[in-house]
Symmetry: C2
Subunit: 343 residues, 2 copies
Amino acid sequence: MRYETVTIKDIAKALGLSTSTVSRALRGGYEISDETKRIVLEYAEKINYRPNPIALSLKERRSYSIGVVVCEIANNFFSQAINGIESIAYNSGYHVIITQSNENHEREVLNVEHLASRSVDGLLISLSSESNDISYLKSLHDKGLPIVFFDRVSEEINTHKVIANNFQGGFEATEYLIKCGHKHIAHFTNAAHLSITRERLEGYKAALQKHSIPFNPDYVKYCNYSGQIQEELDAIVKDLLKLEKRPEAIFIAQDKISTSTLLAFKKLDPEYGSKIAISGFTNSRVADLFCPEITVVRQPAFEMGQLATQLLIQLIESKYPVTEFETKILNTQLMLKQLSTNT
Amino acid sequence: MRYETVTIKDIAKALGLSTSTVSRALRGGYEISDETKRIVLEYAEKINYRPNPIALSLKERRSYSIGVVVCEIANNFFSQAINGIESIAYNSGYHVIITQSNENHEREVLNVEHLASRSVDGLLISLSSESNDISYLKSLHDKGLPIVFFDRVSEEINTHKVIANNFQGGFEATEYLIKCGHKHIAHFTNAAHLSITRERLEGYKAALQKHSIPFNPDYVKYCNYSGQIQEELDAIVKDLLKLEKRPEAIFIAQDKISTSTLLAFKKLDPEYGSKIAISGFTNSRVADLFCPEITVVRQPAFEMGQLATQLLIQLIESKYPVTEFETKILNTQLMLKQLSTNT
DNA sequence: TTGAAAGCGCTAACAA
DNA sequence: TTGTTAGCGCTTTCAA
């Protein structure tokens, strides 16, 4: 025994009742006298009785908790999404268990299996950039574990999905740069196979096409670690600097890639770096403070977390197997600068 | 039943053995024939058997998991500390359950009680700024729950503590500003009663005193929500702007307070804001990118997380009640700018 | 209205 | 070497 806890048995013994009577009194069963109920409740209150959720989980095969897997929590998008998740979960009586994959497939699998074995009632997941093969998830899903994808989703599993309008975000961010007069626009993005990567790239391409700017594959750079490793961006920026025609602008598809890019420029060619125009996905509060400034595409992270959680709880609490699934697409927002006199 | 799981019973039935034999085979007990062991292990592997940790927790009254309570995960200091925590915990066979209090006492209590009732084997906690009364923690600690404080600690509970050298950090950050030639130096900090607030304030005062600069209480501003609420800083900056003698510099004790301050200046008086010298505690990677730049005091967050976890696991696994506790103080680092030609 | 007993998955003391 | 049984905390038939 690790440390003292009051159990139903203690109450039963103290009151000269059976455990089942105490149990019924505690959960307000109707087949019990008001008097007994009162006595039990009062005593339980007095000794600060708390039911043991582990025993309940074992019995009910559920835990009133939901598992969350994201690649990293030190990311404004995910931490905001998690706040959205918690806001709904707590109000619906669920606890939230947060885990991070660090963009590592193996860690993702470990996390998911741990969550599943701990009887989470459902799973919210944004895939790691290494996760090509998600058969491990599929088999859990097939066994009946409710799963809702958000942000980085997969076609391989048929369930609810909540994503930002990545195409729109990519399109607007790119078109903004075009409207600023730029024609040579690079694109730094995540690992190639991720859903968000594809969608944002499509938006980028569509904007170029609309304005009759040729697509140049040399301008597209993939980051397998989503900007978490500075060296990755240093190498990419070096590549860029070697190009015959250096771009005048970059559309960056991810928060950390943006900041790592700025840091790389600052280190490798601050002169050029201070002139280049950048637009990018980020949910940072402080992007406004950066030099150079970046024009921000913001995702409704909090709402995405909320919505994903609502859908998940719906799945969990559904009396019948759910067979109709939807993919919710929430609009991104291009944050245009206030044209103030003092910048 | 939520979803299909293989149990030891299934294996026993399939193999015509008793559950205890299977159990022993699985956990490699010596009192078992190699043959039986082989058969069981092979079959378990084949059907992908996973022991049910909930049943284990119920039986052993422990869970091989540790609970973490921080005020917010969207904070570089804490997310780095959590990475340190996870690095040690995983290697020692523990899982980590992360919760956030949002600087809210009630939420902190809920989180801790949930963690405790879920049989976490120990607790790592940095107190919320609202948490004056920690008797709820004390009673858990008295019942035998191992607790290690980090960052924001309390004297009321006698246990291991891991903190940064906040005095030193405050002293160096302030003295740096003094050496830059500033004499009127404000100090923005957290809620007054937090340990980190006291310690950093002492460092600030000591630096002033060393350089014979009088301490002006009007220059010290407390943020009860640690900069998480922009309005709080807007109000403080407004106050500052009204002062007869505006400070030329500010030492800021917290990450979010720094960024919220910069945003407030940008909004309220960008002219003045761009001239003021700022030094502050932050573990952000991107502070270098800010305009104006801030001189950074960095805490060894990752190492603090690691150390706290090592101490906690030591407590958890100790065969005897531990009565000797220590407070580890890790040095902060003042990040001086490379004097480059191009800034 | 209350109690006795079984069972959730697993381990371990005791028996065989 | 293997099986039987009790028990972790709780709920829930079934009996009284």
